[in-house]
Structure formats: C-alpha cells, structure tokens
C-alpha cells in the first residue's frame, strides 16, 4: 500500500496518462463540461464502453479524474491539481518565461494566413 500511494503522487503516472490522445480527449471533454457519466463520455468516442472505462481508470489512477456518486450515477470530474503540480515542478522551475515567449511567438506566426 505504501508504494501504491507513493505512485499516486508520482509524476510518472500523470505523464503516462497524458501520453495518449484518447485520454487527452477525455480530459478535454471534462474540461468543456465537468461531471459527466460514463454513458455521456462514451457517446463522444468511437470506442467500446470497456475501452473508455480502461482509459478512465488510467486517468483516475493518475489523479487526473475524480469520480463521485450523485444518486445512482457515477460522475467523472477533471482534477486539475496534478497538472498544476507538474507545472510547479517542471515549468516554473526552468523555463516559464521562455515557454510563454515561444507560445506567444507560435500564436503570432499562426495568426498569418
């Protein structure tokens, strides 16, 4: 159990969970509208219910999704806290200024037709 909870707080799980387009899409869906059921999320994906459940489980183990019961339904919520922690640990420490300068540059260049 000790190792389990050390792993819960481990960046590796978050990076691994984010390293998949379907899982990022699920997070984007929850970002757009939070507190959705499995059925609602499944309707947005060309994938079996079991496949969606597996992806949600990886996101939940990484702490990026938190589920709560509401009556008979299980609702999925995006938990932004682990992303903030990654930000504080990796982005702030080394490169925030350069990254934001590059993102500004990208936005500027992409504005051209």
């Amino acid at each position: 159990m000790v190792t389990y909870f050390l792993r819960v707080t481990d960046d590796d799980r978050v990076f691994k969970a984010l390293a998949d387009p379907t899982r990022r899409f699920l997070l984007d869906l929850l970002f757009a509208r939070d507190g959705r059921t499995l059925t609602e999320l499944e309707s947005e994906l060309e994938m079996t219910r079991f496949g969606v459940m597996k992806h949600l489980k990886v996101l939940e183990e990484a702490g990026l999704v938190v589920t709560r019961r509401s009556g008979r339904e299980k609702l999925h919520f995006l938990n932004p806290v682990p992303i903030r922690q990654i930000h504080d640990r990796w982005i702030d420490k080394y490169t925030e200024r350069q990254v934001s300068a590059l993102l500004d540059l990208k936005a500027e260049l992409e504005r051209e037709p």
């Binding site: 159990m1 000790v2 190792t3 389990y4 909870f5 050390l6 819960v8 707080t9 509208r33 939070d34 507190g35 959705r36 059921t37 059925t39 609602e40 309707s43 702490g63 938190v66 709560r68 509401s70 339904e73 609702l75 919520f77 995006l78 938990n79 932004p80 806290v81 992303i83 903030r84 922690q85 504080d88």
Partner: protein, 170 residues
C-alpha cells in the same frame, strides 16, 4: 441522456500529513495565512457561525497598482457543517470581487481521508451553480502570481507547506 452537475468543481490532492494537520491548516488562523493567498481568517468554527477572510496589505497594494480599491473582506460565508478532522462545509463568497460578490454564496466542501503510507487525501468540492465568475477564479490555470492560481495552486502550496515547512510562494 441525463443532465449532470456540470458546475461543480472537484480538486483533490494527496499530502503526506495527518488528517488533523490538514484540518488545522484549513481552519486555524495562524495556518491560513501561511499558504495560498493568505489573509487574516476570522471564525468561531461552529455550525451557523459566520467566517471571513480579510484582505492583506499586499492584496491592497496590488489592487491599487492595477487601479482599483481592494475592500477589507476577501471572502465571507457561514459554517454549514463541521466534523473535525474529516469534513467542513461552508458557504463561500468572493466578496472582494464585485462581479463574484453579486453572484452570491457558493457551497464549498472540504473532505479529508486518511490513506496508507502516512498520506491523507484532501478533496475540495466547490458547487458553483449560477456563479461563473467564481468558477473562473477558483478553477486556476491563470497566472498564480496575479491571483489566478485557483484551488490547484492553493492546494499545491498547502502540500508544500505541510510536507516541507515552506510554501511554494516563499
């Protein structure tokens, strides 16, 4: 398809601390001023009691620099439910922002659970029906130094304080 509680935000963090230490950090004035956006905290901490978080001199100075006056009260509300060190339910209004203040009170629940390995799980459930300005403020994702860190930044800072004795904000 059912319509679900889409305006509720859930923020969860694991902290290497006892539930009591986390409880103290979210309820005791001397702790409340040491992480997140700080502020002097006043409450008797019993069901039905009002509570307030007062703005700091830094907040007032930052406001003045941006050309507006920061009022004395940052956050106000009432204690709805109290079960130390497990559960605290508050009504919660960001009184210092006129737009948010006009939205009225939101409902904020802290849940603390002991988990294995000396960790505790702290979950914030913030019910934000009809409160888009509150929702935008507490969601985070903006510049933390400008007050836009929201719950993710506050929780991250609380974790640093409890685990290392020092907040991120320094």
């Amino acid at each position: 398809m059912t319509s679900t509680a889409t305006t509720t935000q859930v923020h969860r963090i694991y902290i290497r601390a006892t539930p009591q230490a986390i409880w103290d950090a979210i309820t005791k004035p001397e702790w409340m001023d040491r992480y997140g956006y700080g502020g002097h905290y006043e409450s008797e901490l019993r069901t039905g009691a009002p509570y307030r978080i007062l703005t700091t001199d830094d907040m007032k100075k930052a406001g003045a620099e941006m050309g507006f006056e920061v009022p004395d009260v940052a956050v106000d509300g009432e204690v709805v439910e109290l079960d130390a060190p497990r559960r605290l339910v508050l009504t919660w209004r960001m009184a210092m922002d006129p737009v948010a203040a006009a939205e009225g009170f939101t409902r904020l629940t802290y849940e603390i659970k002991e988990v294995a390995g000396g960790y505790a799980e702290l979950t914030i459930v913030h019910e934000l029906d009809g409160a888009p300005a509150h929702a935008a403020q507490v969601a985070g994702g903006q510049d933390a130094a400008q007050g836009g860190g929201g719950w993710p930044w506050v929780l991250s800072d609380l974790k640093s304080l409890l685990e290392t004795g020092k907040p991120l904000a320094g």
